[in-house]
């Protein structure tokens, strides 16, 4: 129990740190893609900028509008950030480490319905937006909240359907199990029609269509451009957080970056092999034979590092897309969700089912 508690604390701290520096990275990436140097005054190369931003958020006037639902107004951002943080509980960060005679699994909790849990938490996140937007007593906030909830509900369908193809392939809902099935990089015993041949074991190579659908839906779920209609500045002032100020606004913005981090992690774990990397068995073998138990633990840590490299890439990818693709119109968004992504993901399920049936 104590170790699980420790892992939760560490994961919490890492999530906070990554989200903190995502805000900085976002500004830097935006600047670099627009041929600007970006924030570079606070600390070396602007490295202390997130702290300055946080300090600013804390010291701003905390304005509460004259609304009938003060409690809900305060509850909104809290709920949003709590749901964003809870998702990280089921992520497998690495393999098992061994300290003396204790085995430490690098995961807060390994439940066998981890994928369902993530989907539940992500859809719970819409309550934070909805409650905040409703309690603001402001038409822009309400419109933003309505947009957010309808968008999230629409894209969750396609997201869930695209994941079903993956579940059919792996036969499990546990993220640890899915990660283990993508061990290494090459799957030497991939059997098709009784013949064994090598094929990449990462699910993205087996389910490319599911990956693309999942990626697009993840953008919509995290309210990132090109699907950031809930906070569409040009039409809705600030969207659902128009009336928020100070750290309540900070919570909304921060939770968005946490969501980005978590969805990057989920994409990395489900589709890109999580902590697995090419040649991990060789690394594990060399480290273990050189340093014994410590070497084995080091090899596990290398895997954690690889997972974080993948996560950082996907966070960068989120920002890269944000500063490339313009925002969708709302009817285009709904068309894409209902008329294209959902039929495509159903088609993907049928194809996957057929392929499984043929190769059995």
């Amino acid at each position: 129990m104590g170790i699980q508690f420790g892992i939760i604390l560490v994961v919490f701290a890492i999530t906070m740190f990554v989200a903190l520096y995502s805000t900085f990275a976002e500004r830097k990436v935006a600047a670099y893609m627009q041929d600007r140097p970006g924030p570079n005054r606070a600390g070396y190369g602007g490295i202390l900028q997130p702290l300055a931003d946080g300090l600013k958020m804390f010291t701003k006037e905390d304005f509460i509008p004259d609304t009938k639902n003060k409690f809900l107004f305060i509850l909104g951002p809290g709920l949003f950030i709590v749901t964003a943080l809870m998702t990280s509980a089921v992520i497998p960060w690495g393999q098992t480490m061994h300290f003396f005679d204790r085995a430490v699994v690098l995961q807060a909790t390994d439940i066998d319905v981890a994928l369902l849990f993530i989907f539940g938490m992500v859809s719970f996140g819409v309550y934070g937006i909805m409650i905040g937007g409703w309690a603001s007593d402001n038409k822009f906030s309400l419109l933003g909240a309505v947009r957010a909830s309808s968008q999230m509900i629409s894209y969750e369908v396609a997201m869930g359907l695209s994941i079903i193809a993956v579940i059919m392939l792996t036969g499990t809902l546990s993220l640890r199990n899915i990660a283990e099935q993508q061990h290494g990089f090459m799957d030497w015993s991939w059997t098709v029609f009784g013949h064994k041949f090598a094929y990449p074991s990462w699910i993205v190579f087996k389910q490319p269509l599911a990956f693309i659908i999942f990626l697009i839906c993840a953008f919509a779920e995290t309210n990132r451009t090109p699907f950031d209609l809930p906070e569409c500045e040009a039409e809705l002032v600030g969207g659902y957080h128009t009336e928020y100020s100070s750290m309540k606004l900070g919570f909304y913005l921060f939770a968005e970056y946490i969501n980005m981090f978590i969805s990057s992690t989920v994409i990395a774990v489900i589709f890109f092999g999580g902590y697995n990397y090419p040649g991990m068995d060789w690394v594990n073998h060399t480290f273990t034979s050189a340093m014994g138990n410590i070497g084995a633990n080091l090899a596990v840590l290398v895997g954690v590092g690889v997972l974080f490299a993948k996560i950082v890439f996907f966070i960068f990818f989120y920002m890269w897309v944000r500063w490339t693709v313009p925002r969708f119109r709302y009817d285009q968004l709904m068309n894409l969700g209902w008329k294209i992504l959902i039929p495509l993901s159903i088609l993907n399920i049928v194809l996957t089912g057929g392929a499984i049936l043929l190769t059995k």
Partner: protein
């Protein structure tokens, strides 16, 4: 003939617009998005064009026209004789002056018998065209490389002799 006129492109950049349906690859959008992301990634690694102002300053062009200066001659006497040609030449009517006669004992202050006791340029009116500089027969007024600094009040932009006359220390360029 009307169609021929429509085909004329003076800039040479006119494109025919068509409403033909997009092909399947175009309707996928993903190739186009990938192309756009290639462009943004290229910009990511490009050198940054920002000049970080207080630390770095952009070099002015040699013909830059900034705020004015009223020159002194090599002995430190003001060159301006208040002839008013600069005020006449000024298209923005930014220059006003009052002439005065030099009295005995002021020969080291003013070069000629007549001088400007008041000489004001309204920097909010001035368009920095440099015509005053061209009109001056005495080489008394020049536009320098300095900027007009900002101010909180409008009357702060009316520069009198206290701001315009060249400081005594660096007389005669």
């Amino acid at each position: 003939m009307a169609t021929d006129i429509q085909k004329v492109s003076l800039s040479g950049r006119k494109r025919d617009v068509s409403n033909k349906d997009m092909s399947f690859m175009e309707r996928l959008y993903l190739p186009a998005i990938a192309k756009g992301m290639g462009i943004t990634l290229r910009h990511f690694f490009k050198p940054k064009v920002t000049i970080q102002y207080p630390a770095q300053k952009r070099e002015f062009s040699p013909v830059f026209r900034g705020r004015h200066i009223l020159m002194r001659d090599e002995k430190g006497a003001e060159r301006c004789t208040a002839c008013g040609l600069c005020a006449l030449a000024c298209p923005a009517e930014a220059i006003t002056m009052t002439a005065a006669e030099r009295v005995k004992g002021e020969e080291n202050l003013y070069r000629e018998e007549k001088y400007a006791s008041v000489y004001e340029i309204n920097m909010l009116r001035c368009i920095f065209c440099g015509l005053c500089e061209e009109a001056c027969p005495k080489e008394a007024i020049f536009l320098t490389e300095d900027m007009v600094s900002s101010d909180y009040r409008r009357d702060g932009f009316i520069y009198g002799k206290d701001k315009l006359v060249m400081p005594l220390e660096d007389k005669a360029h």
